[in-house]
Amino acid sequence: MPVFNQSRSRIIRLIFLLAFLVILAQLFNLQLISGKYSKLAMDNAVFAKIVYPERGIIYDRKGKAILNNAIMFDLMVTPAEIKNFDTTAFCNLMQMDTADFVKRIREVIYKNKNTVRPSVFEALLTPQMQARFEENSWRFPGFALIERPVRVYPFNVAGHILGNINEVDARDIERSGDFYRQGDYIGKSGLEAIYERVLMGKRGVQYLIKDNHNRLVGTYEKGVFDTAAVAGRGLRTFLDVELQTLAEKLMTNKVGAVVALDPKTGGILAMVSGPNFNPNELTGPEKNKNYSRLVLDVKAPLLNRAIKGQYPPGSTFKPLGALVALDEGVITPSYGFPCPGRYLLCGNGKPACTHSEPGHAANLRLSIAHSCNSYYAHVYRLAVDNPKFKNVRDGFTHWKGYMNAFGLGRKLGVDLPSEDMANIPDTTAYDKEYRGSWNSCSNLTLGIGQDKMTATPLQLANAMCIIANKGFYYTPHFVNRIDSETDDDTALLNKYRAKHEVLTHISDDAYNAVIDGMEDVVTSGTARIAMIPGIDVCAKTGTAENYTILDGRRIKLPNNSMFVCFAPKENPKIAIAVAVENAGFGATWGGPIARILMEKYLNDTLQTKSVEDVERIANTNLMPDYYKRLQYKTDSLRARDWFKKTNDSSYIQKYISFKGIKNPAGKNKPAQPQQNLQFVATLPDNKYSIKQGQEPIPA
C-alpha cells in the first residue's frame, strides 16, 4: 500500500508547483505587465509641494523699500492631537466662545475627512494674538503656528499704485492657462498685477512623502528631484516716497487726485487719489473686514482717481488750445481779442469772462495770464473753422487729432491696470446731439475745457510734460529698472523708454509764447499762490463746473479746483496736475498743493509758509456733502436687498428705527445720515458684494 501510494508524492509536489506557478503568473502580470501600479503608488505617496519664492520688493527712487515682505502666522490645528485640552482656557485666550471653537474644529474635520491633517484654524493672527498664543502654546496640544509670508507697506502709502495680492480665482487660473493653482497668490491690482511675472519669481517644487492619512512625513529620495524656488526680482520705481507721503497728507479728506511726473523720463514721482486708504489694511488679519468697508464706501476710496477720475480740465486746457491755434497758423503770439466780459460772437453771450477791462487779452501771453474765456472760445472756433478745412466736421476731426497727440482722450499706457481714456468727443457725438446740424458755436466751450471734454489728472500732467518738453513725452510709468533685468523685462520696459515726439512740429516760438504766458500766470495771474522764490514756475489754474444726479434731480456741485504746472521753466524737472473735487477756485486748493510738492521735490525743504500750509490743507475737510446722502441711500437700499434675499430684517430695522427717532411718523424727509456710516461695516457686505459680481478691487 505505501509503495503503491508513493506515486502520489509526485502529484502532491505537482500541486505545490502548480499553485506557485499561478502565484508567479499573477506577480508577473502585476509587476511586469501592467505599468499602472508604480504611478498609482507615486500618486499615493508622493506629494509635489510647491515652494513659493519670496515676492519681489518695490523700491522708490532713492532705494527705500515701499512694498516689502513680512512673516505673519496662521494658527493650525490637528484635531486628532487635541487631548487633555482645556477648551475654556483656550477660548478665553483666543477670545472666542466655546460653540464657535467646536464649530471650527468640526468644519476642519469635515473639510479634510480626517482628523490627523493639520489645517488652518485661524488665518493671520494679529501680533497680540500670536504673542499670547506663543506664551501658552504648551498648554494646547494639537495647535501650532505656521509662518505665512505677507506683503507690508512700510510707509503706509501708495495703496492705489502698489496694489495688493490675493488668492487666485477661477478666472485667473483659466487666463493663465492653468499656470496658477488653487491657493496661489497673484497680484490683483496696481504694480503687483502689472509686474506679476517679475515679482512672483519662479516657483520651486519639493517632493514630499505622505502617508495614508495625507500627513507629510518626509522628503522623497532626499530631495534629489526638488527644484529650488527663485525669488522675485525687485522693481526700482521713480516714486519719491517722501513726496508721495506729503501728497497723501495734503489730500486728506479731499476727493480728487494729484499726479507728479518727471518730464525728462515720464517717471511718475507721486500719484495720489483721494479719499485714500492705508494699504496695510488690506494685508493683515482684518483685510476682509477692511475691504468690505472700503468697497461699500460711496466715496470709492479704492478708486484711483489719478487714472480713472474724469474731470473737465477747465481753464487748464487753455495752453493746449493756444498751441493748436498757433500751429495751425490761425493766430500768432501777438493775436489779441477784444473781450468785454463775455463772448458775444455766438449770440448768447456765453461764456462769461472773469475779466472785462479792455486789453486783458491783448495778446496770447496776457490772455493766458488772465485766463480769458472769450479769447479761448474764439481761438477754438478759429482752429475748427480754419478755411483750409472743408467744413466744421473736418476741422473738428483735425482738432481732435491734436488732442489725442496731447494724450487726451486716449489711454496713455501707464503701467497700472484699468487706466481710463476719459473723453474727447468726436463728430458723431455732436451729430447725435444736434441731429447733424451744428457749428463751432455749438461746442465752443470745448475751447475752455468744458462741454463733453474730460481728462484724467494723469493725462493733464502728461500734457504739461509735452509743453515743458516742447513737443515730446515719455509714456508716464512707475518702474525705472527691474533688478537683474532680463530680455523679457527689457521688452516690457522699452515702451516706457521710447520718446514720443508727437508735437515737435509745433514751433519753439509757439511753445515759448505759451510757456511765457504760464509763467505770467504765476508771477502776475491767477496762480500767484504757486510762486516759489528762486524757481520759475509755469502754471495754469482751472475752475470747472460740474453736476451730479441725486434723488432724481440734477444738482450743481461746487466747482472742481484744477491746477497744472511745471518747473523750473528752463529745465523742467517736475510737472504736476492737481484735481480737487468741489473745492472751488483752482488757485485756492490746487495751487498751494502743487507749490508745496514742487518745493519739496526741487528744494527738498519747505518754506515756513508752506509748512503752515501743509497743516492747514491737511486739516481741511473738503468732502462734498452729497456723499452723506448718497451713502445713506445706498446702505438702506442694500439693507432692503439683504432683507429680500435672506428675510433677515435686522439691518433694515436699524434704518427704520433710526428714521423713526429722527423723524416722527408721517414725514418723508430723509434722515440726517452721518450716523449711518457706522452701519456700513456691520452689514455682512463682503459676501453680498461678491454676489453682486463687483470687481474684487477696483484699481
Binding site: M1, P2, F4, N5, Q6, R8, S9, I12, R13, I15, F16, L17, A19, F20, V22, I23, L24, Q26, L27, F28, L30, Q31, L32, S34, K36, Y37, S38, L40, A41, M42, N44, A45, V46, I209, K210, D211, N212, H213, V217, G218, Y220
Partner: protein, 447 residues
C-alpha cells in the same frame, strides 16, 4: 546548531534548518523594512524590544530555544503523546468559548498574562500529530471508509470549532490535511470531488445561477445520450448521473445562497466578491441586513481598499523593486495589516519580481525538501506528520500570497516564518522542529 553535542546533531537535516533560518531572517528584514522610521538608531531600536522588528527578533530567539528543547526531546515522545495533545487541543478550543477576550472580529483568543493564546493555532500541531498517530496505527486500514471517516472527523472537528470562533481562515487550514490523507490512500475521487465542488462554487459566483444550471443539465443530458448503450444495460449509471446533476444543481440553487446568506458574514461575502471583481448581489446584502434587523445596513464599506493598495504595492515593485526602505506603499501605511497578513507586499515592493521569484523559490525548496524528507521516513507516523507540516505550510503560503496579489479573498492568515507575531512564528517553528527531530530518528520505527 549545537555541533559539539553529537547526540543531538546526529541525523539532523541541516538543509531544513538553514532554510528556516534564512526565512526568519528575511521575515525580520521585511518587518524592519515596513516599520523602520528614518532617523531611529538602528542597533538601539533593534535590541530595545520597542519596535516590531526588535520584538520579532526576540520571538525568534525564544522560538530557537524552544526548537532546541524539541531537538533534545526523545522522538518517541511525540507519537506517544499525540492523542493527549489532540485532546488538550480540543479542550483548549472548547475552553476558548467561555474565556475568549473581547477583541472585535474574533472569539478565538485567550489572554494569558501578557500573551494572546490562540488555541486554533496550537491545534494545527496537535491535529498534525494526531492524524499521523491515527494513520500509523497498525490496526488502521485506511482503505476502509470507516477509517477515512474517522480521520476526516479528527480534522474537521477542530475546524468546525474554529469556524464557530469566527476564524474562517484558520479553519480552512485544517482542510489541508486531506492532502495528507490523500497521500495515505484516500481515493483520488474525494480530492477530485472536493476540487470539483470548489470549482462549482466559484462558477456559481461568476456565472448567473440559472444559466449555470442549464449548462449542467445540458452536460448531464449529453452524458446520458453518449452512454445510452451502457445505460440500457445498467440503470444504475443513469441513476448516478441524475444524482450528481441533482447535487450540483442544489449546490447552485440552495447550497451557495444559503452559505452566503446565513453562514458567512457580510464582510466575508464582500471580500469574496471583491476578489472576483463583482458587485455583491443585493439579495445577499438584504438577507444580512434582515439578520441585523435593519440596523446599520446602509453603511457602505470600501472592502477592496486593502487588496487594491496591496496590488499597487506589489505592482509598483516592478522588475527589480525599489530597494529596502524605499517602498512608499508599505512604509507609509497605505497597506493595512502589512506587518502580518500583507508582509509579502514589503518584499514585493522592495525587491520586485526578481525578489519575489527568489523568495517563492526558497519556499518551494522548503516544501519540496519536506516532501522528500517525508518520503524517506520508515515510520508511517513520521511520514504522515511530515506531510502534515508540509501541507500546513503550503496552505498558509499559497492563501496568504494569493490574498496579497488579489487571487483569493482576504482571510487573515499569516505567511509562515515571515509575518510579524510570536504565536505564528512559534507554531511554525514547533511544527518544523518536531519534523526535524523525527527525521533525525528516521531509522527508528515509531508507532
Amino acid at each position: 546548531m549545537s555541533q559539539r553535542n553529537p547526540a543531538i546533531s546526529k541525523g539532523i537535516d541541516y538543509s531544513l534548518v538553514w532554510i528556516y533560518l534564512l526565512l526568519v531572517s528575511i521575515g525580520i528584514m521585511a518587518i524592519f523594512g515596513a516599520t523602520y522610521r528614518d532617523g531611529d538608531p538602528i542597533l538601539q531600536s533593534f535590541f530595545g524590544f520597542k519596535t516590531d522588528y526588535s520584538k520579532q527578533f526576540y520571538f525568534f530567539v525564544a522560538a530557537l530555544v524552544i526548537g532546541l528543547f524539541i531537538l533534545l526531546t526523545d522522538s518517541k515522545f511525540f507519537s506517544a503523546t499525540a492523542n493527549i495533545f489532540y485532546a488538550t487541543g480540543i479542550f483548549l478550543l472548547l475552553l476558548t468559548f467561555p474565556l475568549h477576550t473581547s477583541i472585535s472580529g474574533t472569539e478565538s483568543i485567550i489572554k494569558v498574562g501578557g500573551f494572546n493564546f490562540q488555541a486554533a493555532e496550537f491545534c494545527k500541531i496537535t491535529v498534525a500529530l494526531a492524524l499521523a498517530k491515527y494513520l500509523s496505527r497498525p490496526e488502521t486500514e485506511f482503505t476502509k471508509t470507516r477509517s477515512q471517516l474517522i480521520a476526516a472527523a479528527l480534522v474537521l472537528f477542530p475546524a468546525a470549532l474554529t469556524i464557530l470562533q469566527k476564524e474562517m481562515g484558520l479553519a480552512l487550514v485544517f482542510f489541508a490535511f486531506f492532502l495528507v490523507m490523500y497521500r495515505e490512500g484516500l481515493p483520488s475521487g474525494v480530492l477530485i470531488i472536493g476540487f470539483a465542488a470548489a470549482t462549482l462554487v466559484v462558477a456559481t459566483l461568476l456565472v448567473e445561477k440559472n444559466t449555470l444550471a442549464l449548462v449542467l443539465t445540458g452536460i448531464a443530458l449529453l452524458i446520458v445520450f453518449s452512454m445510452r448503450r451502457q445505460v440500457k444495460r445498467q440503470k444504475a449509471i443513469l441513476f448516478r448521473v441524475i444524482l450528481l446533476w441533482f447535487v450540483c444543481v442544489s449546490i447552485i440553487w440552495v447550497g451557495v445562497p444559503f452559505a452566503f446568506k446565513h453562514m458567512l458574514k457580510l464582510y466575508q461575502v464582500e471580500r469574496i466578491y471583491s476578489t472576483i471583481g463583482k458587485e455583491v448581489p443585493t439579495e445577499y446584502i438584504e438577507a444580512h441586513n434582515k439578520d441585523k434587523e435593519g440596523g446599520g445596513g446602509g453603511k457602505k464599506k470600501d472592502t477592496d481598499y486593502n487588496v487594491r493598495q496591496s496590488k499597487i504595492a506589489i505592482g509598483s515593485g516592478g522588475a527589480i523593486g525599489k530597494g529596502l526602505l524605499k517602498g512608499t506603499q508599505t512604509r507609509y501605511g497605505f497597506v493595512p495589516e502589512q506587518r502580518t497578513d500583507f508582509i509579502f507586499d514589503t518584499i514585493a515592493e522592495g525587491f520586485g519580481f526578481a525578489g519575489c521569484f527568489v523568495f517563492l523559490s526558497i519556499y518551494l525548496l522548503l516544501l519540496f525538501r519536506m516532501v522528500a524528507v517525508a518520503e524517506r521516513q520508515r515510520s508511517v507516523f513520521s511520514r504522515c506528520y511530515a506531510y502534515g507540516v508540509a501541507v500546513v505550510f503550503f496552505f498558509h503560503i499559497i492563501i496568504n500570497i494569493a490574498m496579497a496579489v488579489g487571487l483569493a479573498p482576504v482571510i487573515g492568515i499569516t505567511l509562515p516564518l515571515i509575518s510579524y507575531g510570536g504565536t505564528s512564528l512559534l507554531t511554525f517553528t514547533i511544527l518544523l522542529f518536531i519534523l526535524i527531530r523525527l527525521d533525525a530518528d528516521r531509522q527508528m520505527v515509531l508507532r
